[in-house]
Symmetry: C2
Subunit: 394 residues, 2 copies
């Protein structure tokens, strides 16, 4: 007999609704708008194949050896030089996906019971990364222009930080407007409230780049998280944190303790792909593809949802849009019915730390093909229509 006593923090971890859904969506025949999977069409397989060979031939033993926890120096320099404000490479920490950046931020800034502010709705993975550190999460409202800085003062007292995802947000696809960014930074400065800015989607704009990052406006007050998952490929698990010099050493120590360093081979391989300006040709092709896919989904929605009290937004970039079901309809209840009809989405409820909007749902327009988008949205509309009829009959 052995009794395993789990930590209190373990009780706060929940199975990822997203991850469990990914399993459902693996069922053959399901059209999935659920996962946040980049389109595999965009993965530069050939460039990676060449990079693997070059790295192994030239630097095999170094690429396969233990390496510095900070990350591969040329990659850190590349990151620093490509950010739109003055960043010292010494402030860049390479992480095992930007998800790990959230884990490290949580460890370094959150004590049991610490207050943490998040925009609402917010990235589920951030809530999951912070949960083991046992924070008290406060939700700050947002609208179509993103987070509402006015509502912050009531929550900000002694808060450790505000977590915000300003560009083509996950889950809503919303972009924090220029005026909101200015107001937010001013409010945070006056409240002495640090910011954690997550920017995995910023490069995926459709018509024009989003406004400058919050970190560019207030570098000392912001930890900035970036990722190679959406502009290259998520399967290499590489992201980065840019941190003020007062916080960096502790993030580095947390990184050492978490996994020693991110794979040296992957860091060198990604640098090999990036170093000669590959992204300048590559990212525009991702933008064009996602813009097109988004248009297809918006058109399909307009057609299929006709006459239904369903609303949705029109994002300026990224991978997601945010829809709202007719009054009285619950997205969690709708999901199994939709899956029966061959289509999956993520109920919005997954993305609220406190009060839930049960009518909301997240639709990804990047993983499914054009045809699948049309068929899937049709199936979703059909599900809603039938559900509404049943509700009316009750």
């Amino acid at each position: 007999m052995s009794e395993w006593t789990l930590s209190r923090r373990a009780a706060r971890m929940n199975p990822s609704v997203l991850r469990e859904l990914l399993k459902l969506t693996e069922r053959p025949g399901i059209i999935s708008f659920a996962g946040g999977l980049p389109s595999p069409q965009t993965f530069p397989v050939t460039a990676f194949a060449h990079a693997c060979q070059s790295v192994l031939e030239r630097d095999g033993p170094l690429a396969l050896q233990y390496a510095a926890s900070e990350g591969f120096t040329p990659l850190r320099e590349w990151v620093a030089h490509h950010l739109p404000w003055s960043v010292d490479p010494a402030q860049v920490l390479i992480t095992t996906g930007s998800q790990q950046g959230l884990d490290l931020v949580g460890k370094v800034l959150i004590d049991t019971g610490s207050r943490v502010l998040v925009e609402t709705p917010t990235y589920l993975g951030a809530l999951q990364a912070f949960a083991p550190m046992e924070p008290e999460i406060h939700s700050v409202s947002s609208d179509e222009e993103g987070l509402l800085p006015d509502g912050m003062a009531t929550h900000a007292n002694a808060a450790r930080f505000l977590y915000v995802l300003p560009n083509f947000q996950n889950p809503t696809g919303r972009t924090l407007s220029e005026s909101r960014r200015e107001a937010l930074v001013q409010t945070c400065q006056s409240l002495n409230l640090p910011l954690v800015e997550d920017n995995p989607y910023g490069d995926l704009w459709f018509e024009k780049p989003p406004p400058a990052p919050l970190a560019a406006r207030h570098p000392e007050g912001v930890i900035y998280l970036g990722s190679f998952s959406k502009v290259l490929a998520p399967g290499l698990r590489l992201g980065y944190v840019v941190a003020p010099k007062t916080v960096y050493p502790k993030l580095l120590q947390a990184k050492q303790a978490a996994d020693l360093h991110s794979p040296s081979f992957n860091q060198r391989m990604v640098y090999e792909v990036l170093k000669d300006g590959f992204l300048e040709q590559h990212v525009p092709s991702i933008r064009a593809l996602y813009r097109h896919q988004c248009t297809v989904m918006l058109d399909a929605l307009a057609q299929a949802m006709e006459g239904l009290d369903v609303s949705w937004n029109s994002p300026d970039g990224g991978m997601f849009l945010w829809a709202r079901l007719p009054e009285g309809m619950d997205a969690v209840d709708l999901l199994p019915r939709a899956i029966e009809k061959g289509v999956a989405f993520v109920p919005g409820a997954a993305f609220f730390a406190n009060e839930v909007d049960s009518r909301a749902l997240r639709l990804s327009f990047v993983t499914a093909s054009e045809d699948q988008i049309r068929v899937g949205i049709q199936a979703l509309a059909q599900t809603i229509r039938e559900t509404q009829k049943e509700m009316a009959a009750c």
Copy 2:
């Protein structure tokens, strides 16, 4: 102005002595016995180059996409089938190095103030991984045969687990004997004390394999950690956790939150290398090399330390041996003097959670070449001799 309030847990993270030392050892001309770096000669660069090509050609998009948090199924099956007890692949969780396994175990089992037992001395990286969860660490004594189970009862009350590294331990190179293993498992069963068994070096035996793992004797009471870093290459950052079914789901949730999953590309690449029995030829060559290097170091020590009151052990495998300086000499003080003479080691003090043996030091025999070992041990002996003279003169 932005004030960053760091967590209490952050104050418990210390810069890794090992990591800081690795920087010193990068100084040109230093012979390093400090790092735990496998010999780059053992990295199968060509096999990896072929594996990269096969994986990218055959499964490029899948290898570069997000994947299940549990890990790549064929790799989990491979792990389960190659362990010397009955393991269900569903119990195997692929981690970003076995260091991440320690981080996940800490999150899932440790609350602030929870008692955790470790053998002493113990792996520094485990102390660092557990530290952010704010445990109360209790040290259990060990001798040449490894941990002493007799001393455990006084510490075990309400302890969450005992962390132990039974094979060619880091830092001591010691192996837990068969009789101690039996006694330890019995003691843990009677005390209701779970075990966390770390086995990164078990395959690196010189003459004969070590006794069976603790997990093989008591699968329900042991979380077992393994690694590909020492039998393939550390730069890919792949390890695994085998956990009882009562604990596995929480470890998986912690894994999801920590980095979503370990790099899918690396998992497929490693599986590609392993699947046709590569290790059966490869690991014996690592064993032979390390056995030889160990012999070279032992011979060099016997010769160079003649007449000095310095002792050391003769490990049966792994990468390290454990030496002890003359009475009154402190390994931390000796280190800068040794570096001046061109040789580096890790002071034993780094590996004690509680009371320190300041005379102890860890010597790695796998990274330096034969000639470097001879020259480096000579330089170390010279440093000790001179220090002793100065001490006598005071």
